[in-house]
Symmetry: D2
Subunit: 404 residues, 4 copies
Amino acid sequence: MTTTTATDMDTLLSDVRNFVEERLIPLEPKLRTDGLAAISSGIESAREVAKENGWWCPQMNAEHGGMGLSLHDFGRLSEVLGRSPLGHLALNCQAPDAGNMEILADHASEAQKDAFLDPLTAGEVRSCFAMTEPENAGSNPKQLSTTAERVSDENGEAYVLNGHKWFTTGADGADFTIVMAVTNPDADNPYQRASMIIVPMDAEGLEHVRKIPIMGEEGEGWLSHSELRFHDVRVPVDNRLGPEKHGFTIAQERLGPGRIHHCMRWIGICERAFEMMCERAASRELSPGTPLASKQTIQNWVAESRARIDAARLMVLKAARTIDEKGARAARVDISTIKYFVADTLHEVLDQAIQVHGALGVTDDTLLSFWYRHERGASIYDGPSEVHKSVVARRVFREYGVNL
Amino acid sequence: MTTTTATDMDTLLSDVRNFVEERLIPLEPKLRTDGLAAISSGIESAREVAKENGWWCPQMNAEHGGMGLSLHDFGRLSEVLGRSPLGHLALNCQAPDAGNMEILADHASEAQKDAFLDPLTAGEVRSCFAMTEPENAGSNPKQLSTTAERVSDENGEAYVLNGHKWFTTGADGADFTIVMAVTNPDADNPYQRASMIIVPMDAEGLEHVRKIPIMGEEGEGWLSHSELRFHDVRVPVDNRLGPEKHGFTIAQERLGPGRIHHCMRWIGICERAFEMMCERAASRELSPGTPLASKQTIQNWVAESRARIDAARLMVLKAARTIDEKGARAARVDISTIKYFVADTLHEVLDQAIQVHGALGVTDDTLLSFWYRHERGASIYDGPSEVHKSVVARRVFREYGVNL
Amino acid sequence: MTTTTATDMDTLLSDVRNFVEERLIPLEPKLRTDGLAAISSGIESAREVAKENGWWCPQMNAEHGGMGLSLHDFGRLSEVLGRSPLGHLALNCQAPDAGNMEILADHASEAQKDAFLDPLTAGEVRSCFAMTEPENAGSNPKQLSTTAERVSDENGEAYVLNGHKWFTTGADGADFTIVMAVTNPDADNPYQRASMIIVPMDAEGLEHVRKIPIMGEEGEGWLSHSELRFHDVRVPVDNRLGPEKHGFTIAQERLGPGRIHHCMRWIGICERAFEMMCERAASRELSPGTPLASKQTIQNWVAESRARIDAARLMVLKAARTIDEKGARAARVDISTIKYFVADTLHEVLDQAIQVHGALGVTDDTLLSFWYRHERGASIYDGPSEVHKSVVARRVFREYGVNL
Amino acid sequence: MTTTTATDMDTLLSDVRNFVEERLIPLEPKLRTDGLAAISSGIESAREVAKENGWWCPQMNAEHGGMGLSLHDFGRLSEVLGRSPLGHLALNCQAPDAGNMEILADHASEAQKDAFLDPLTAGEVRSCFAMTEPENAGSNPKQLSTTAERVSDENGEAYVLNGHKWFTTGADGADFTIVMAVTNPDADNPYQRASMIIVPMDAEGLEHVRKIPIMGEEGEGWLSHSELRFHDVRVPVDNRLGPEKHGFTIAQERLGPGRIHHCMRWIGICERAFEMMCERAASRELSPGTPLASKQTIQNWVAESRARIDAARLMVLKAARTIDEKGARAARVDISTIKYFVADTLHEVLDQAIQVHGALGVTDDTLLSFWYRHERGASIYDGPSEVHKSVVARRVFREYGVNL
């Protein structure tokens, strides 16, 4: 990791914040009304600006063309990027590509890096990650039904995949997907039954069922979530990422950085929603000279949101620092804690910001409705809050001699 | 009001509930994916069935072709209808037509009844109600900017309307709108400055700016909310509904019945969401033989929702009974109380039902997402919760000698 | 049950409310500072007034000298009595005597009635009920350790009790206790292992360990909770109440009426705390002419408390009506629901009332602190809220085919 | 301020934590049952041990015999001390003496230091601070009624104090009190009307009305709060602390450090209550082999409390760091924010810890009931949460051009 001085970081954050204000936020009105495709040229030119400034793949090391930030510093940057739905995309660190780059960098063979990682970090293609299955509770990884059977015939050694995935974010327009599939169904340890397989999106038998309509919108491209079916999809054995049985181990590694990424992105959303709430309360008049801000209920919300957001940021940055300094294992409680704490904060802040906007708040004339809908899932994806709470409690109770 | 025996009501509720199950709920999947227009023939035939059974305009007296239910009984029916987004439409008691019928029945001249009320109660046309203005806080009726200037010239006596309205529900496809406009700007009492004017939707100068995109959808027909502009829209003086200056008085009369209508509709939504939550928890397995229902957190939500919904229903029906027996004035605290209490209940129940559904909950594969988006406004329209709380508190404090 | 007309009830409630205002509330300041004993003569004369007016043992039939109210009407009366900590005592329907009277009336032999029930209904003695054990979770009745071994020797047939009880309310000064003890440890059904045994408080071997200090006070008499130990306490077999093995069955019968009693008492507390909150907010000035009531936060609390209390009352009275009309079994969900719903309401209202009083609220200069401390247990005794929520959820899920 | 290395601090915290475990916690059972006086010798010997170890007056500079910790480090120490109600007393940094020492060190004349500060820092006497008045809302300092009239006669120049104070913490047994009194009623700026006057507790005319019974206890010594009346109490002009009119300015200076002190003390309470909750859940069995900790509701509380406490600590330490580095003015929002955020956390954690303990939780057999009662005031004293929320909101809204 490159060492970044405090001053460097402050300058970087300030510069990127200006970039978000000047290049990305002006694209949002059209995004709200016409969707991603309508602003593709704007996004492309913003990405070029970012790249030229060296603001690119902040989560990756320099050898992969990235900024080599520590997780702590990446977290701070992620907050600034999170102020716009386009922020992470502009710096090529949007989910799930950011995470895919990380596991490819750590586990891909040289051939895989050439074929999949390099185009990703260059921003030439997009990818997706196929794990969640509609028939199985995501919170229980043992319940994985998609299989990758290893076959060996005249065409060589291959995996044949069959299964059903959904919530494959960004499948629309992606070049390839990394699939979590059962390769070793008989392994004693259920966490050693699965492997990761790289599958080109145009592979024969890979059916793109639909972009799932979510909260009234099916979205497109990076901002969509697909349902996929694998019907005897055949890929060479060399498409396996890392060793067999290591699917969950590799997935586990994504968790810490991915959590920091999302949580700080949410805090960026919170801050922007907070500002919108304050602006509205300051400018909306109940009667001449009496702004909405004069109402104590509004003041309570502002004060409570201010406290919650500040608390959330401190917690996430502490978790990031711990991962940086002591590794993800030392931060496991923190990594679970921030998931529900920050997701709850996000929901509360957005809800209050909408209420302060009154009727305007439920319209698509502001970004609040966009976030209210798109981020309801924050308490669900990457493990629902309830699961994370149990994880924390089980770890705490171990110190009291109870194994649950 | 027709007297309805308890047994009659139980039979009616049971029959209508079956009707909702058999005729309306099957239309919902297409409504979710393709919208209202795609199911218009299904809706029409359901309406015919309803009409044949005498289930029509439950809020209206027999002389207007209605069922003549007391508000209490209408409330109970409204809950059953609320189980589907199509329930009220099927019995021709959807907002805002239901309310418009009531004020037309009470205040329209015979000519107005012929022209506007009869086609409405017959279900031949739809109408809308233009009150909310984007520039003014809805909670302060004194801040009404739309004007209806009275002119008298060679073309007769007329009102000329100018102004800007939004959240005019159902304007798309409506035949006429009832407009709240300032006719007497100099009246001492600010609540006596406005009158209600009936304006045909095809009147010259009435601009339909847009169906407002709300939570990702602009909707259509009855399920849409429009922004309108009035540019010198001229209507004959005879289009005024009731006396001049009486706009707020008449609007006030709508409040009690309208509140019961909405609150019981929300309770219908709550019950259906509750059932969906229970069904999901009972059928979704965390591991073979272990349903989601076994988790105590889910049990807490079920128990808390059960209590909240039961409490909400009792409160609304008590308010309805009080209005029936003692009039709306005697029920003013109750009418405000139920607004925030039931809206909060609705939000909580929907949110928990979504969480229990996990990823499925945020998709449009169930109705939960539809309601989550469409009913966020429940705490906003008809007066935000904060305003109703102040109303209740002010009335309470009067008994303690404090006038706020 | 005696039929009581609506008018009779209204008169009764009004009269008893005046009685509470005039005879009991004036005793409270001394109760707060000096305790129960210091106001014993005041209590006695109030009880005489009550008895003369026929306001006595409202939960008992006329044959036992009671008022024969339905549970619904008793509930309404219980709210009025609950306005003062002395209300139920004044009408001889305080816990646990009220419940003991009921089970004695239903299950005692004639000799037991003469010896124990009659002095109780006459108000000449007090009693207590020994069930909870410090070593066992109250929520699991199978974990009962106190035993009553049946012996037969030259002194006749007897039970010899050994065990440890606590939270035996009112043991201080009681004449006798009804003890839940294991008589049939080998019964297959764990709910058939226990019986109820009547034990005089002066029995040899019954050790009164202490009045348990609770929230800073050990209290006295009726307002205290004791820890007891049974060391080979011998009572004749005739002291068994009802058949062997029927301990839990009889206890179960107490539940419905006992729940209504407590919940409506809590609502009485809520109403009085609500009035105190309003009075304080109306009279306390932040600056000359600006009462605390002008603050929107206070208004929110008043409005939210008003709604919660109204909802709670409707729920409890509905449960009471269901028990009256269809029996306790039909009301089982309601009986659990009100436990947590009303206890939560009580905690919220008391907490807000204290906050409105500021520093005064935490002093013993008002009753709020008394209730805040004494009623914290409302979410714990008679089954903690968490257990009741699971009970409700399990019943709900049965309808969905899941037996938990 | 002495520089303290990170390692030094860790050692100090660990040592003091052991001291609290070994010397103070063993005194608590007797404190709970018999009060402060009963453990006076134990406290005295603990104080001697502390002093010998150089753990004394951590908030004071070395010149006053203190440890010279930064506010940040004092905060960390305050958490450790807060684990026992006796912690701060043992190191002679209990409220209100700690604050009094600070303002005396900053504003006292040499003579005042000799007479009042030195005995305080030596731990030979205690003091109190008389500000709050029963008739005036503490949140509005303009409403101060106590007067100190300056007179000049044959006995010299003096102030004659008249007024009524309450919640004078630790007045019982104190040597002197610092009184906030109006000396300049005509000053234009209402914040410049008051001065601080040092008054010996045995001054003629100073009536100790009572130790106020709070939540069932009047307490004693340092753990009591008194009501005082000043009847023509005469003290020399030299007893004024700092210049005339500077009462509020000096009081303001106490705020930051005092807030850190209290908030970190509350966090110490939270951590100990959290541990008690976990221990109870781990050891209490619902049935053989099934600890309470297995219940998901308990797990939720543990996880939520863990998150809240961690968040609270980070916020307070950040505020302390800001005060250390940039001064109290720069930390004003943070200083208000932590007041309500940490007080809410404290209430929640204590409430959940009690609920986990069941019936035991409401008894005085654990410290939970002690804190539940004594710390209910955390949301009230030093400004109620509602006031601090408005302070934060007003500061935020200033950035949006609104001055409220």
